[in-house]
Symmetry: C2
Subunit: 336 residues, 2 copies
């Protein structure tokens, strides 16, 4: 499955800048995959891309209409339906990261079928998967793991891919969640597969490759999140990672969504992830720590990273502030 | 969801005694839930239950026709369809533990719908689940964990339930796989739920209960099985167990189905499971070791259990040979 680009990014009548973070991610990380944005009257958000109508977008080559926005409950608004219809009628596929499936709207599904267009509901995997087997695969792999959900694992892996590609390395981001899939046009929502197939899904996502190739696999959740740790462990086993990058948000008070659940200690989190990783790759090592340090000022962030680096003996950066150069240097020095 | 009993157990034209292990489990653990068996011509297997025709079974009160047998690939044989039709026409529901769904056979589904009968495909959960939250629940819980798949977790939990009920304790087996569900008439196949909902499924399966109540939760897989460990970790977090029982088969050479994958050391397996369990229950303890010692003779088995008990300082038994009395004594002395 590959979602064809370039994209036309749909912003709806959004008022909340946070609700278009998927489309913003596409514009940031894959600007070459988009021709512009399209908004409804009343929209108060922009990605600073050209505002296009359907005809112009198609003339510019648009292949897929992207619902990279959140709505209350992941619901598809009735008001969006004329836009979905026009996208199909203008020859585009539709790809959506919403909980509710576009393909479950009968009139849209029937129109897509009649016109021979595809609908990608990327939260709902359709691949036929096998159970994982843990057999050694060729090529090298990096996996982002976390102290919690939403601590910057996707950002970190995309930043690592950018840094490695800029050095001419043979590297590919591997998306495991809906935002990453829409950004890259491919991937598997591992938290949405049947539980028996978690590790198998990741084995399929990052298969045998050339010995100089790096898969940079987006992590999900945390081994210490009581809602989602099963996904995180299956992902860890399936990734067969040579290198783990531990992601953490400075100042987070408790596990996301669960005020009664404390965050793990960094060392416990490192130990648990390395222990799990070594079931399928005995050489697994910690390659760096990536922080979301937005709670700190510049100097505090540098001091904090230095302290973490001294404690855990790996590079520590905020990828947004400092880039990932020191982490890539360290990975290459150890496993390059 | 509760599968109504008593059952009529269908043996098909089976030649292989192992292929009816689900029905044998029902006959062994819930004899009060079955009126008898029904075989096709050529069947070479028996459960030593009364061989009934449909009319007699119905007169004896049979409510559900059970497909508790395995076929190559989990497929439903064409030859079985007349039996399925007769079961429905005689007023029974159908419950199946096969991979392929009975409800996917149009003529059977239509007949069931027309007659108002239920079809339970227990490998395919239909409950609406919530994600887990790890909040403390009332009541007490025991969970079987394992060094591998198929090491006796279901047998151990059913034997513990039997022993505890015989003492007048308030205890319930909680099934997490298809065989256990058919035996007990209720439960959730946790390896078949969407990955995000593993721990939530187990929270729903073993909810708040009275303080003197014991949930005895069937485990699945192993934290050290590269195919299924995600399921095992989600189950461990969702169970919020006070007491873990470690199950192991003496003499197993490698992880089931994966000759390249070694078994974990017992101590590593205990540590990993206690570490995981304590995320949602800080008081989690090891309450015993349950071995499948069929590779040993009687004296060897006793010696082996004694050695394990001395090493890990908990009772160690083969539940089939020795019962679970010493484990229940120990659990009650520690957490009763």
């Amino acid at each position: 499955m590959k979602i064809l680009s370039p994209y036309l990014l749909f912003l709806g009548d959004t008022k909340d800048p946070l609700s278009v973070k998927t489309s913003r991610g596409i514009a940031q990380w894959r600007p070459e995959r988009t021709v512009g944005q399209i908004s409804m009257p009343g929209c108060e958000v922009t990605l600073n891309l050209p505002e296009l109508d359907f005809e112009t977008a198609v003339q510019m080559g648009a292949k897929t209409f992207i619902l990279g926005l959140a709505n209350a409950g992941g619901v598809i608004s009735e008001d969006w339906l004329p836009y979905l219809r026009q996208a199909l009628e203008n020859g585009m596929d539709i790809a959506s990261g919403l909980h509710n499936k576009v393909a479950d709207i009968p009139e849209i599904k029937q129109l897509a079928d009649r016109l021979g267009r595809h609908i990608f509901d990327v939260r709902h995997p359709t691949q036929t998967l096998s159970v994982g087997n843990g057999k050694k695969r060729s090529g090298k792999r990096i996996l982002a793991v976390g102290t919690d959900c939403s601590v910057g694992k996707m950002y970190t892996t995309l930043a690592l891919e950018q840094e490695m590609k800029a050095r001419g390395l043979n590297a590919d981001f591997r998306a495991t969640g809906q935002t990453g899939i829409l950004i890259d046009g491919r991937g598997i929502s591992v938290d949405a597969v049947v539980a028996d197939f978690i590790s198998g899904a990741v084995e399929a996502l990052a298969p045998d490759n050339s010995e100089d190739h790096w898969d940079i696999i987006e992590g999900q959740g945390s081994l210490f999140h009581p809602s989602y740790a099963g996904v995180s462990l299956g992902l860890l086993h399936g990734a067969q990672a040579d290198v783990l990058i531990l992601c953490h948000e400075v100042g987070r008070k408790h596990i996301r969504g669960l005020p009664h659940q404390p965050l793990p200690h960094m060392q416990a989190c490192i130990n648990a992830n390395l222990g799990g990783a070594r079931l399928t790759n005995k050489q697994a090592m910690l390659g760096g720590i990536a922080l979301n340090s937005s709670a700190l000022n510049e100097q505090e962030a540098r001091d904090y990273c230095q302290k973490m680096s001294d404690t855990y003996q790996v590079p520590c950066v905020d990828p947004l502030r400092h880039g990932t150069k020191t982490i890539v240097d360290f990975i290459l020095s150890q496993r390059g």
